[in-house]
């Protein structure tokens, strides 16, 4: 596809960092699927982000832990790219007391403020209004943080999208609205639920820059994110990025994912962005086969450690039901 922005080539170090994030996400996904098949960790629900790894992997090259991320149920790729520790992530998925949320939130509500993972919501559209609030705090404190709100193509039709982009533009909030357009919403194809050909074009309704890019193209995504982050940090206001991508594993575990036309999905799988980037890194001489294999081994170990950490962690005590309900416990 053609990108709306002029693509700048990221330095090799950035491409390597993007690959490391993307590979970590991909390997983590495989491990989650494995754990769910074996069932031994007791992971109860999972929305796979396979196919969408490059988007947050490239975005986060421009963010630090101080920047805020608000994501959705399908958000583990965003969370990992943003730097959430895998041990606590796995423990949360496994419902353990050592999880990011003590096992109380679970996959749809993973939270880890230390890495800037502020909110994960299970409500379509719920991430955008909250992102504005985080950005409003940054604007008032002039702390130069950037907030990114992730959401899907289907979410671009719900009221919260409209209200949030309107407010962010009026107030020039340092926020990026990142629509990960995987061409489907649960089982409804993009064009059937969305009355515009390009979500990015909706930015015009808010006098806001809107760019559509191939989210699976590391350079294009990296460049679009770079511009949007720079704009936000400079206090020039919000940007809407529509990152085109593809959902490889269905809506959630067990989804037959039958909604694709002849060949659509096959073609997308053909273009699996993670191995593609790996090839490119070697072809362009940014990394050797050996170096990448070593990196991947490191990632495998990281994940095995996280799995074991979760496995060996205690389950939350039932008394936790009464904790974290109100400040200082229920009155």
């Amino acid at each position: 596809m053609t990108n709306d922005n002029n693509t700048e080539q990221p330095p090799g170090s950035s491409l390597l960092a993007i690959y490391e994030r993307a590979a970590r996400i991909r390997k983590n996904d495989e491990a989650f699927h494995g754990a769910m098949q074996s069932g031994k960790l007791g992971i109860r629900i999972y929305y796979s982000p396979r196919g969408q790894e490059i988007i947050p992997a490239a975005l986060c090259d421009h963010l630090t832990d101080d920047d805020y991320l608000v994501t959705i149920y399908r958000g583990v790729h965003d969370q990992i790219a943003k730097g959430i520790p895998l041990n606590e992530l796995w423990a949360e998925y496994a419902g353990r007391a050592t999880g990011t949320c003590k096992g109380k939130g679970g996959p749809m509500h993973v939270t880890h403020p230390k890495s800037g993972n502020m909110v994960t919501t299970g409500i379509v559209g719920g991430s955008l209004p909250i992102a504005n609030g985080l950005a409003l705090a940054s604007q008032l404190d002039d702390d130069k943080r950037v907030t990114v709100a992730c959401f899907g193509d289907g979410a671009s039709n719900i009221g919260a999208f409209h209200e949030s982009l309107n407010m962010a533009s009026l107030w020039k909030l340092p926020v990026i609205f990142l629509c990960q357009n995987n061409l489907i919403a649960e089982h409804t194809r993009f064009e059937k639920g969305t009355a515009v050909a390009r979500v990015a074009d909706r930015a015009a309704s808010y006098s806001m820059p809107g760019v559509r890019v191939d989210g699976n193209d590391p350079a294009a995504m990296w460049s679009a994110a770079k511009d949007a982050v720079a704009r936000a940090r400079a206090g020039e206001g919000p940007t809407l990025i529509e990152a085109m991508t593809f959902r490889f594993m269905g809506h959630l575990i067990g989804d037959p994912d039958e909604h694709w036309r002849e060949g659509e999905k096959e073609a997308a799988l053909e273009r699996d962005p993670v191995p593609a980037l790996r090839k490119q890194l070697i072809a362009d001489g940014h990394a050797s086969e050996e170096a990448l294999t070593e990196l991947e081994q490191k990632l495998d170990e990281e994940i095995v450690e996280a799995m074991n950490f979760a496995q060996n962690s205690p389950k939350p005590d039932v008394s936790e039901l009464g904790v974290d309900v109100l400040a200082g416990g229920a009155l």
Partner: protein, 327 residues
Amino acid sequence: MTAQVNFVQAINQAMHDAMADDPNVLILGEDIADEEGGGVVKVTTGLSSSFGADRVRSTPITEEAIIGAAVGAALVGKRPIAEIMLMNFLTVGMDQIVNHAAKLRFMSGGQTHVPMTIRTMTGAGGGAGGQHTDMVEAWFAHVAGMKVVAPSSPAEAYGLLRSCIEDDDPCLFVENMPTYWTNGDAPERGTRIPLGKAAVVSPGTDVTIISYARTMMESGAAVKALSEEGVSAELIDLRTIAPFDLETILESVSKTKRAVVVHEAVTPFGVGAEISARITEELFSELAAPVQRVGSTFNAVPYAQALEEAHLPSMQRVVDAVRRTLS
């Protein structure tokens, strides 16, 4: 034994029969048409193929627009069923339900009314966490002009849903998802179960247990366990939460002198509070013990399985509540 069907089949059958009987019945909801898989858990499978994707419309993810469209169509003679995938998502369409659907009959002085049914799934037990399984039926029961219905068996689901679709008021029809695939006796095609009437499921003499929806299971199990201790509990299935069948409740409690209300919703400010208050207002002098309530613990639905189970009402908690009325 009679043929068995689960909730999914019974609800699908009810919608199928209603659409076959009345061309004004239509369904709006996310992913409901067969092109979108016939519903995320297949409750609407086959309906768009039978009645057309015009009458069984997959919608964008826009609950306010879905419910508003149902309200508008209902104003001019349609009998729309708006499927709101999960009860927590009603929060996105609250304005259309509360400020419009429930009130237009009164505010128009009876010139218009809204014969719409909102079907919604919910119920904890599947590990979905805090935003997907709430029971907030009490909110809608607190709104004049609404009817709130919650079946506890496939046959009830069929008969009550048929009545909701044919009812001239906005009805909220609450379906419990974790028990969706539980079998029960198949409904007689075409049966209607009247709204506003409860059912005495098992007769008893020592205490009345009043429940609805999924917790009829825990309550039924409690009745069995109690009978083994020689306690005879009468079990009432409320079926309609608003307006609820006070008469049947009072008849039972004036006999048993004791009552326990059981529901999945959190206890404080829940449906049980209203029922407890009404029973006490009417039968104060006859009651042998204060009405007891059993509901989920007062917190968001937790993810971890052990916590989720402890959060929900259990057979044991129902039995304990009954014991409190007997001691």
